[in-house]
Amino acid sequence: MTSGLRAIAGFLIWASALSLLYGTLSLACAWGLGPAVTLAVLLILWLAHLALGGAILIGDVRFARGQDAGFGQRLSLGANAAALGATLFTGLPIVIASPTC
């Protein structure tokens, strides 16, 4: 059970990132927070999710190196690596598009 959850942890983080980034932008626009504050909050959220995803991935890499990596461990490693890349790509617009409403 826990190994199953570990394998999808990275994508759950990605889902959280997308929801929070989009939701925060909507709230920022509704509450008139202004571009600077919006950008700052979005950046912090994005980087926090990247850090969390990265930490899980590092754990996967260490675990896979430490012993004979079974199917479950390799699956976890691949899925969490892919998810980290997804979180990076999905949040990329923060540094390209303008944080205006």
């Binding site: 617009p93 390209i96 303008s98």
Partner: protein, 216 residues
């Protein structure tokens, strides 16, 4: 596009996005042609690889899984999509109605089943005919009084939905004077296919005269 050219008129037409008459539409049309070229190349690659697999070869080397999955499935799309994303976002930013453009005009477009009303400066212009100057940004504030409609002048730029309870803004510019066609682009009931409108783009001087002449 040879078969298309044979279809009489190639890409032109009163509602054609491929016959652009303003900078927004031009930008998107260019983007389309580039994407078409890229897509054609990728499709050709995939089909050629498929067919080559059927050519009988006696020597089949070791499977290069890393090449197929790592390069074909991963590295290649990542590079292409990253470039596309950055380019797309930058283009999109240019089209937004941000800040006030010099000499911009604001027009309110109110839609209902199944007609359009345009007002400039609070004054009802006309139903069904939008009058704009060339060479200046026109911010159209679009809303609906009943169901969702969509405001679209393909030769000038992208569309924006008319949603009851909301006001959405689209910024368009016409380069060349003339009559353009617009239409509702969101299914709104049995009169949807007839819910079109005309856009008359006038040289700035002619536009000012028309606006002055129409004042009470």
């Amino acid at each position: 596009m040879l078969p298309a050219a044979a279809m009489g008129g190639g890409c032109s037409g009163p509602l054609s996005t491929l016959d652009p008459a303003g900078p927004n539409a031009v930008s998107v049309a260019h983007l389309w042609w580039m994407m078409l070229a890229g897509a054609a190349a990728i499709l050709a690659l995939v089909i050629i690889l498929f067919l080559v697999a059927f050519v009988r070869r006696d020597e089949r080397g070791p499977v290069r899984e890393r090449l197929w999955i790592g390069v074909g499935g991963f590295a290649f799309p990542v590079v292409v999509l990253s470039v596309l994303l950055v380019y797309a976002l930058l283009r999109g930013e240019e089209l937004l109605p941000r800040g006030s453009a010099p000499g911009a005009i604001t027009i309110d477009a109110v839609s209902r089943q199944f007609s359009w009303e345009f007002r400039t400066g609070g004054r009802l212009e006309s139903s069904g005919r939008l009058i704009i100057p060339t060479g200046r940004a026109v911010d159209v504030r679009v809303t609906s009084e009943d169901v969702i409609h969509s405001f679209w002048i393909p030769r000038l730029g992208g569309k924006i939905d008319a949603i009851p309870g909301h006001v959405n803004v689209v910024r368009l510019t016409a380069d060349v004077p003339g009559i353009y066609r617009g239409q509702c682009a969101e299914y709104c009931g049995t009169g949807h296919s007839g819910m079109s409108f005309e856009v008359e783009a006038l040289e700035p001087a002619a536009y000012d005269r028309r606006m002055a002449g129409a004042a009470p």
